[in-house]
């Protein structure tokens, strides 16, 4: 076997390792119910849950409770299946959190009642959908 072939095989080997670990380390999108059953089965890998903040009839966000020392908070989130869940986040309320139209939480269930997010991603309404132009006319 020529040296070139050995190097070629080596490259292919590394590439395969990369692909396998990418799939292995990739997280998944779950609903709160599947996430809960995963946690109950002892699978503590962090997963993604997509949903919205809980809102009342007037469209106001409800259920945000800021911790005593203001360094953490909990909020109520409704996933795409409609399951409501209380989520804890170990950081102050992020900028634009209340305005976000979609949130993605990455984390796991720590207890049966509490989902703990390690990271929150927010999708905020794009400026193109903005319909209220400030009407202080000139």
């Amino acid at each position: 076997m020529k040296r070139g072939h050995i190097i070629g095989l080596g490259i292919i080997g590394v590439a395969i390792i990369i692909i396998i670990t990418s799939i292995g380390d990739a997280s998944t999108y779950e609903s709160f119910s599947t996430a809960k059953s995963m946690a109950e089965n002892g699978n503590t890998a962090a997963i993604h849950v997509v949903g919205e903040l809980k809102k009342d009839q007037n469209g106001e966000v409800v259920g945000i409770e800021v911790g005593e020392d203001k360094t953490s908070f909990t909020f109520k989130m409704v996933d795409n299946d409609g399951t409501e869940q209380q989520v804890y986040y170990n950081e102050p309320v992020p900028a634009d959190f209340i305005r976000s139209e979609q949130v993605v939480v990455i984390g796991t269930y720590k207890t049966a009642e509490m989902f703990v997010a390690d990271k929150i991603l927010m999708k905020c309404p794009s400026k193109y959908q903005e319909t209220d132009v400030k009407t202080t006319s000139s």
């Binding site: 990418s22 360094t71 900028a95 209340i98 305005r99 991603l121 999708k123 132009v133 400030k134 009407t135």
Partner: protein, 842 residues
């Protein structure tokens, strides 16, 4: 008044730029095919059309900037990206905040590069410019804004607000012009955001040049000659892209709140990958010039780097990353167009490369282990694998989109811990690279066999071991992985410095580019290891909460709540928060927010107290002063060590109506480390919720408590003047003086009680820091008592995070050295090309 002229002119220029690019492309196509006799006239015509294209492109930019600069809020672009309060340099940032502006920037750079190519090449102009003009046509189509039936081509930056917004006001009054825009994203209000995007887009644009030379070479069957003119451009491209990346990282470090410079976010990865591939391409191209090997590899790498830039653009701007990136880019519905753009050039490159593949010369010689070709090839391979490792997981949202477009369902998500995931690979690749550069450089300059290699490497090896040992001991590096990094980094620096010194002795600085760039790499490696690996969050778990939920134990609280004036020990420092400040134009330092009252006009306030700084008076009480961005507040945080004030930081925060709280850190810079302080939450200053009234009666000299604060009622006096009021004959004004103690601070409050005839007036005094409002409710002369009405509110506080980042300057220094290395290499390679051109060989 609406001004529709500028917009129409701008839109016309877009159309002109598009048409002229196509005409120019066609003309250059005929030029390459034309006989020698007809060539000059085709060339002239092609150039003229390209100049028209250039003129139109520059005009587009001027029109758009005119709209922003003159606050023409009837245009959507100005309305949504700018506001009247912005200083000029941030208006420039507004220009490229939107995607359309970014495309214009890209178009502009391509025009500039096109001019340079036209005037530095004789032989290559035709085919290279053909590729250029085609790219330009695609780019301009992104801002064309033409709608044919249901098909929308491009998104025009010259749209009027009334054509986009559904606000009811436009039905009542179509001529309505908003008074102010919604403003520039405050995170982009940073000087680095003025220069980072142009740099990055110049980097993007410049990847086109080597690609265009390659396409020209393939098309004209000059399989290897394209390398000489392409090489300086490839190095230029890698340097500018690298600089753009570093500026972005630096901007993230000084403005964003994740506490670092690199987050492995998809948007960052999208630029990092083409850069790696371009660097690999440079190495194989240099090898080819020396020894005629690796030509095919170079071709593949140059094509890849160009296509990866297009792929990056697609990832970032199509909205496909959606909820996997923290960067929010609006989806302009350009995904289809971006895909066509990418697949068009993929097809062109594939067709040309596959058709000519058999004719491309290869070297049959097997590279020896003791040849430089071998080591450089391994290095380029490592770079390629690094790129591969990043792009595979970054593309996960794309796989999902593909599966879903075929009706499937995929719930694959990017790795939950991105930093951990990518670092695990990139770190070891980087170590391998560092070692390879050391060895590779020795092979490069000397013919080596086994013994020579040993002799050459012994000294650098010993020196780097000693150096590493010192760093490890002094820096207390006890983690095995980190020790390996220090060793590899030290070896690169020492080995390449040895080469550098040899070259300098021969007085050939021109050739020093490679070793300089590699020394930079070694420094970056060590700098990253220290600043990230040994980043120490000193604000961790300092809240001292007694009650915790059981599962909270394992979570680390990185933020800490600081009450005003209340000292808190954080590791080596005692930290005290001292209140909210503002920046006033012309006044050095910061001015206490309480000393200013906003007038309602943009960036304007009235001084409630004389404004002084370092003993010099800048404004009298009652003066109108200009604020530097009124939304920005600066929170004064003092750091003490052994009761000595060491330094004071002013991290910035802005409660933004559309984006929530936007914060920028402030850092104390030492040579060997940074102390980084960042605000994560602040008090609500706009609508304080005062608690219920409380009544306290006290005689002068008495002490009482207001909300836990010891308060001394010093006494009262009759005054002849009351602020903001003219006293009439017979009025009696009594000023009560209270001193409130809060830790080491004494606050004076003096509410006033006014009697006019049988009417009573009360002037309240408020201290916002302590959240106290006091008024004299009544005076009972018989008992010598004052009755105070007291309201309290949340005492001022700030929630912040602080971290020590050791050796971060080594990282910045390393990047600068690496960039210098690139620059030296560009000059050398361009010089070579010029010499060959003069000989008439190119």
């Amino acid at each position: 008044m609406m001004n529709t002229f500028v917009g129409s002119l701008g839109h016309f220029m877009v159309v002109l730029a598009f048409v002229s690019a196509l005409v120019s492309a066609l003309s250059y196509f005929y030029y390459t095919r034309a006989s020698e006799l007809e060539k000059p006239s085709w060339k002239n015509f092609s150039r003229i059309t390209f100049y028209i294209h250039g003129f139109a492109s520059v005009s587009i930019a001027i029109c758009l900037f005119e709209i922003i600069y003159n606050h023409r809020f009837e245009y959507f672009y100005a309305y949504s990206h700018s506001s009247t309060g912005l200083p000029v340099h941030y208006m420039i940032s507004s220009f490229w905040e939107g995607q359309e502006g970014a495309f214009i920037l890209w178009i502009f750079w391509n025009v500039v590069l096109g001019f340079v190519v036209i005037h530095t090449n004789k032989f290559w102009e035709g085919p290279v410019m053909l590729v250029f003009t085609l790219v330009q046509a695609f780019l301009v189509s992104m801002i064309l804004g033409v709608v044919i039936g249901d098909l929308k081509i491009g998104s025009s930056p010259f749209m009027l607000l009334r054509d986009i917004s559904e606000a009811p006001i436009f039905q009542i009054n179509p001529e309505f012009v908003p008074e102010d825009g919604t403003g520039l994203n405050p995170l982009l209000q940073n000087i680095w955001m003025v220069i980072h995007p142009p740099t990055l887009f110049l980097g993007y644009a410049s990847t086109l040049v080597p690609f265009a030379f390659l396409m020209a070479g393939l098309g004209m069957k000059r399989y290897s000659e394209w390398i000489r003119p392409a090489l300086p451009w490839a190095i230029f491209s890698a340097m500018i892209l690298g600089m753009g990346i570093i500026m972005g990282a630096y901007w993230a470090y000084v403005t964003l709140n994740f506490g670092g410079y690199w987050n492995w976010d998809p948007v960052e990865n999208a630029v990092y990958v083409p850069w790696l591939v371009m660097v690999a391409a440079i190495h194989t191209m240099i090898t080819f010039k020396k020894s005629s090997t690796a030509l095919k590899t170079s071709i593949v790498l140059v094509i890849s780097s160009f296509l990866l830039v297009l792929y990056a653009t697609f990832l970032v701007r199509s909205g496909v990353l959606g909820d996997s990136s923290v960067h929010s880019f609006t989806d302009l519905g350009l995904s289809g167009q971006l895909l066509i753009y990418m697949f068009f050039f993929l097809a062109v490159a594939l067709v040309l490369a596959v058709r000519e593949w058999k004719n491309i010369p290869t070297s049959e010689r097997e590279a020896s282990v003791y040849s430089r070709e071998f080591w450089i090839f391994i290095g380029a391979t490592t770079l390629g694998l690094m790129a591969f490792q990043v792009i595979i997981p970054t593309s996960i949202p794309v796989y999902n989109a593909i599966i879903e477009s075929f009706g499937g369902l995929s719930n694959l998500a990017p790795p939950a811990d991105q930093i951990g995931f990518y670092t695990k690979f990139q770190l070891w690749f980087a170590v391998a690279l560092a070692l390879l550069t050391g060895i590779g450089q020795f092979f490069w300059w000397n013919k080596m066999d086994k013994n020579d290699l040993k002799n050459a490497l012994v000294m650098p090896y010993i020196i780097s071991m000693v150096l590493a040992a010192i760093v490890i001991t002094v820096g207390k590096v006890y983690d095995v992985t980190y020790i390996v990094i220090v060793l590899a980094g030290a070896f690169t620096i020492v080995a390449n410095s040895t080469i550098l010194i040899k070259l300098l002795k021969k007085k050939t600085f021109k050739l020093a580019g490679g070793s300089l760039a590699h020394i930079g790499l070694g420094m970056i490696l060590i700098g990253v290891m220290f600043s990230s690996g040994y980043s120490d969050t000193i604000s961790i778990n300092m809240s001292g909460l007694t009650y915790k939920k059981d599962w909270e134990d394992e979570l680390n609280k990185e933020n800490v709540l600081l009450w005003i004036n209340k000292p808190l020990q954080m590791k080596d420092y005692e930290v005290i928060y001292r209140g909210r400040y503002k920046k006033v134009a012309g006044v050095p330092g910061y001015v206490k927010a309480d000393a200013l009252e906003e007038t309602g006009e943009v960036n304007e306030a009235i001084a409630l107290e004389p404004i002084e700084s370092k003993g010099q008076l800048y404004h009298q009480k009652g003066d109108t002063v200009d604020l530097v961005l009124q939304e920005n507040s600066y929170f004064k945080v003092e750091y003490y060590q052994e009761d000595d004030l060491k330094f004071t930081l002013f991290p910035m925060s802005q409660p933004n109506p559309t984006m929530g709280l936007i914060s920028s850190p402030d850092s104390k810079r030492y040579l060997s480390r940074d102390l980084y302080t960042h605000v994560s939450a602040i008090n609500d200053y706009e609508e304080p919720e005062w608690k219920e009234d409380k009544f306290i009666d006290a005689a002068p000299g008495e002490q009482f408590f207001i909300n836990d604060f010891v308060t001394q009622f010093e006494g009262a006096e009759v005054v002849n003047e009351v602020d903001g009021m003219t006293l009439e004959e017979g009025d009696i004004a009594v000023k009560a003086q209270l001193t409130i103690m809060d830790y080491d601070v004494e606050k004076k409050l003096s509410p006033i009680f006014l009697i006019r005839g049988n009417q009573v007036g009360k002037v309240v005094d408020i201290d916002n820091d302590l959240g106290i409002k006091v008024e004299v409710d009544n005076i009972v002369p018989e008992e010598n008592k004052f009755i105070f009405k007291v309201n309290t509110y949340q005492k001022d506080y700030v929630v912040m995070k602080a971290a020590v980042k050791p050796m971060i300057n080594l990282l910045w220094l390393g990047t600068i050295i690496m960039l210098i290395g690139f620059t030296v290499a560009i000059f050398r390679r361009f010089d070579e090309f010029q010499k060959m051109k003069k000989k008439g060989l190119e």
